[in-house]
């Protein structure tokens, strides 16, 4: 108890310095929390967009080599019906079954859409039946991308983005019209199918909004004259189980010519990884900046405190305290100050985040189509993790700051002028 009182009274003795450092720590730590809360929101935004809106799923199963070569030789790199059955059998394993929420087959193709006397190049994605309805009201979309939900209307026919509707000169809410879709089959013959234009969707990606179309899987297979598919997209009930599920899938499908990727890999989630590496780089820069300011504040406070209390250090050492024990006394002061700063910062983090979130500020992230609300993620785990990091940094910094002075011999310390002169 005496050490705590000692540390507290020493902090109190240097009120101005303590307050200055305390403010620096509070601003720094609050900044770190808000920055982390924002990065977390962007992460959830981009991952929800990737997993649900673009239907990549948490995990994708593809034929080996298809990521690199499927566009050059689709016939070879698509999954045959036998291979699909093989994968479907593995997905029946109890552990996988209990963790998987939904499985979709996915097939894609470039094509030409004709309607209302206009022709548009499109990129079609086709999924298993009911998938549009599955994602339309998915809790994750409702939670993270509520503003984009209005851009989705599920259908059994062809679905286009609002941008393509506009290019066709057709109103999204008007009566369905007939459309024709043409492309080359996998054998190289020109083929076409007719369907109704009934749905509307969004990719959430600015660069894909003027080409993205969706249709039912059987229809696209008919257009391509194949029963093959490109990918199995697997949606999990609990995202934290992703590594375990991938491990089980890799084990069960080992040596059968398939590749398994998670949504946060470059192979199937390039948009996610690209966006997050950019955001994380910026975040890391600011994070480092804030951490450095905090470290320098602590070093500055400690150095001034140590210089002022040189004689105290000498006295303690003459009484038998070793360097480590004296360092700990100074560290205790820094940790106490950091602890107070963490409490105030945490309150500020909750208050500021709640306030910002309540404002519902519309915000369009770079590369996205449509806006989302600018929000800060409020999380105890973010706060606790950062508190541990900053306490550790404080402890380490205090040790480094004390080291130089403690290496003086005791006679020199006692002869230096301190507060007891």
């Amino acid at each position: 108890m005496i050490f705590l009182k000692w540390a507290f009274l020493n902090l109190k003795r240097n009120k101005r310095l303590t307050l200055a450092t305390g403010f620096a720590l509070v601003f720094g730590f609050t900044g770190l929390l808000l920055l982390s809360g924002y990065i977390k929101v962007v992460d959830r935004f981009v991952s929800t967009q990737t997993i649900y809106l673009n239907m990549v799923g948490h995990i994708g199963i593809l034929k080996s080599g298809s990521v690199e070569d499927a566009y050059r030789n689709p016939e070879k790199y698509l999954l045959s019906s036998e291979e699909q059955k093989e994968i479907e059998q593995v997905l029946e394993i109890p552990f996988l079954k209990e963790n998987i929420e939904k499985v979709s087959k996915k097939l894609t193709a470039f094509a030409l859409l004709s309607a209302a006397e206009k022709n548009l190049p499109i990129y079609i994605e086709a999924y298993s039946e009911g998938m549009t309805a599955y994602i339309e009201n998915h809790p994750q979309l409702v939670k993270w991308l509520p503003t984009l939900l209005s851009k989705i209307k599920s259908s059994d026919g062809v679905s286009l983005t609002k941008e393509l509707y506009s290019m066709l000169g057709h109103d999204v809410n008007a009566q369905p019209i007939d459309v024709q879709v043409m492309t080359k089959t996998l054998d190289g013959y020109l083929n076409g199918v007719s369907d109704k234009l009934t749905g509307v969707h969004t990719t959430g990606l600015a660069f894909a909004e003027d080409v993205s179309a969706k249709m039912s899987l059987p229809k696209l297979q008919e257009l391509l004259a194949t029963d093959k598919i490109g990918t199995f997209s697997i949606f999990l009930k609990d995202e934290t189980k992703i590594e375990e599920v991938i491990k089980q899938l890799k084990l069960s499908l080992k040596g059968k010519g398939f590749e398994i990727y998670s949504y946060n890999s470059d192979e199937i989630g390039a948009y996610y990884t690209g966006t997050m590496s950019f955001i994380n780089s910026i975040g890391f820069f600011f994070y480092s900046l804030i951490a450095l300011v905090s470290i320098f504040s602590i070093v500055n406070t400690l150095t001034m405190g140590i210089n002022e209390r040189t004689k105290e250090i000498g006295t303690l050492r003459s009484m038998g305290f070793n360097n480590y024990q004296i360092s700990n006394l100074f560290s205790l002061e820094v940790i106490m100050l950091t602890f107070f700063a963490i409490i105030i910062s945490s309150i500020l983090y909750y208050v500021l985040s709640s306030f910002i979130n309540s404002l519902k500020i519309p915000f369009e992230p770079a590369g996205s189509s449509g806006y989302v609300y600018f929000t800060i993620y409020i999380s105890n785990s973010i706060m606790l993790a950062h508190a541990c990091i900053i306490l550790f940094i404080s402890y380490l910094t205090s040790f480094i700051a004390c080291k130089k002075k403690l290496n003086f011999n005791i006679a020199e310390l006692l002869n230096e002028q301190g507060v007891y002169k």
Partner: protein, 224 residues
Amino acid sequence: MEQLITILKLKKKYPLGDTVIEALKGIDLKIYKGDFTAIVGASGSGKSTLLNLIGTIDDPDDGEVYFKDINIFKLNENEKAKFRNEKIGFIFQSFNLIPVLNVLENVKIPLLLNKKLSEQQRTDKAIESLEEVGLKDFVYSTPNKLSGGQRQRVAIARALVNNPEFIIADEPTANLDSKTTMNVIDLMLKLNKEKGVTFLFSTHDEKLMDRVSKIIHIKDGLIL
């Protein structure tokens, strides 16, 4: 009498700009248990350097100091720290009390390193030590509320609290008026006689000479 400190050919030099000051030029000295010894000399004669070396708070250039049969300069830093904590008490000219702690807490400081003691035992020992110096009624006062003489008494209580065999005092009365000086010296003498604590202190106050059992005159780094 039991020999407590044996000093052999102790030398210490200090760099001062481009020159080197020879603070001690080869001191030989013996201190016995129960001695009440004053080291007397002019300013810069080497008194403080000698006390610092005996107290292991400075390192010599040459020579040896034995505490009983322990060569104290052969000890490593942690052993020296333990030695200072258990065997020696220090009293400083400017008291060196911790201003943010009260009297009781100041006296308890050396006991904090003894993990075998409970908090209550530390408090009891500190109060006992404060009783010996006549400051029982000031345990919860802070040092800035005390007079110079009272502060030095607190410093003496702190030096005594671990029951050291030996107390080193570097000009303990230099910051005190003559009446308080006599009180402090009387207190040190009383502790020397009643508890058998060996005192070695530096002074240039001639009035104290008739009260000490042994006087060592030092001049230009040599004992006269």
